[in-house]
Amino acid sequence: MKTPRIVNAIENIDDELVSGVFESKKKKNWVKWVALAACFAVLVIAGTAILPSLLENDIINPVETDGRYKDFTISTKNAAIVWPWEYLAESERPYEMELNGVKYEKTSGRTVSEELIGDKIGNYNIVGYDGITDKRPTVVCAVYQLKNISQTQFVAVKITDSYYIFKNAVYNPPQTLGELFERVDLSQFLKLERFSENGDGPDAKHFVLNDDKYVWEVLSTCKNAAFIDMNEVYWHPYDREFISFTISSEALGIYKRGLLITADGYLMTNAFDWGYLYYIGEEATGKIIKYAMDNSKEAEYEPYDNSNSICGKIVEITDDYILVDDSILCKDEADGITYKILINDIRISRYVDRDIIDVGDTVKISYNGEIDEQNSNTISNAFSISDVDILYEDEIEEQNYNADSSSTVSKEVAAISK
């Protein structure tokens, strides 16, 4: 077969794209995850840092429970929109502040409940960043300690009516595991419950641990374990055997990060944004892995994003709502349902205001809560909208596309609602 013309054309793609493939991998491991304008992007990067398949959200295959749908895969189009400041929800706005000469950054869009808030430290300037104008909108906010957490690492800031976690942004990795525990008593704030074996995607085996007390006991004996700087050595879990705990903490402002224990003696976590790696020894990791496997039950894969979604074609847009009809996904078009998405959140209304969506577009809408089936299938808590492409499985087969994709992809359960 003669070399196709495009093979030679690809030789001429820009150097920065070619060298970019070498940089991106490194970035995912140890470049600091900066607060990007699009809040979801932070979650993607954080989630992928040591657990790249935790969030495989660009191609998903919805599983629909009542049998109306054909087999299909949806792929979200490139959605890295940088919104002007006024179009950002408060939870999405990136902020930083200075406290006693140290820079703190807002950790995520998640709020923290009042019961975790301790004494007030004072009022401080909180500086935002508008990615469009490069301006730095500044507001004065009350800053609080968090109960049982050193304010040298984390504080809470009250912005409008909600508390957000701000984290010490200076890269200063604890040089031993003991020092890490001294800064934050992880056993108090992290529950080691869900974990997976040798990966964390839908194809990996997932487990729920009965009790994590023993794991923390073992870790408490490894306080001298030395920090390994991943800027200096190449280290990656994927050529090792490991278990990977999924860790979340409201008080630390983290959601579904990872804590890895490898059979060859390493502990690695991205709980603090940076990848922290410690060698705790094969004996300790062996004990933890054995204990975890012996004291857990196999569990279903849990996608990173547990929110619900619907997908379909926009049939009407008004000032108050968007109508989305999902009949294009149905085996029988007559079974299609039209959903009424209320425009009551800036994360939806901005798409209408800026004419980014239009009637006829195929979109995925993510929402919290339930659909009000008694009231025109109304969705009142939608928070995200994205353009998508739909590929039907029969089209893939027609093109002789690899038959095994359907079986594997079908395991990638996305929470598309009924």
Partner: protein, 184 residues
């Protein structure tokens, strides 16, 4: 040694330049050549030819990105050599890659008035608009000709996901080329 210094060695006609290139980028060149040729001897010869190519090109050329410059020569020479290798000796992966890419833009009968360089620019523009994973997977597959399993392992995706991503990106690229006036 940093790339600037290696380039200086070429300009000084110092043969140490080739040793430094080999020590820094030899493995990468070997992997490109082997992915394409599926034969160690042929790959080795291609990599040696690459160094000769670099030696002959610098000076006068002073590449901005030395790594890409070397990769480009290794890829080009390996693809040329592949044309002389019998079909049955080619790897199944390469044959499949060619078939997949031929469906996007097969040969010179299409878009005869546009150069490969210009089509390269259009593809670059297209790739910049893709998300990072799709972009990297595409380049890994069709620039470096990494296997699906290697790419899946590298990015911790399932092999199906990699195939799906490539499938989408190829289809989108074909549409984009048509839209940009590359007649297909």
């Amino acid at each position: 040694m940093d790339d600037m210094r290696i380039i200086e060695l070429y300009f000084e006609r110092d043969e140490q330049a080739i040793k430094e290139t080999d020590s820094k980028y030899g493995k990468l060149c070997h992997s490109i050549a082997y992915n394409i040729l599926n034969n160690r001897e042929d790959s080795k010869e291609c990599v040696n030819d690459t160094y000769v190519g670099v030696w002959n090109a610098i000076p006068p050329t002073r590449p901005n990105n030395f790594m890409c410059f070397v990769c480009k020569i290794a890829r080009n020479l390996s693809l040329k050599r592949l044309e002389f290798i019998k079909r049955e000796k080619r790897s199944a992966d390469m044959l499949l890659s060619f078939e997949e890419l031929a469906a996007v833009l097969p040969d010179e009968r299409y878009a005869p008035n546009i150069s490969d360089e210009d089509i390269g620019k259009v593809i670059s523009k297209f790739l910049r608009n893709q998300n990072e994973d799709a972009k990297n997977v595409f380049i890994r597959k069709y620039y470096f000709f990494d296997s699906i399993s290697e790419i899946a392992k590298r990015y911790s995706f399932t092999e199906s996901k990699v195939k799906n991503m490539l499938f989408y990106t190829r289809n989108k690229l074909k549409d984009y080329l048509i839209k940009e006036g590359v007649e297909i």
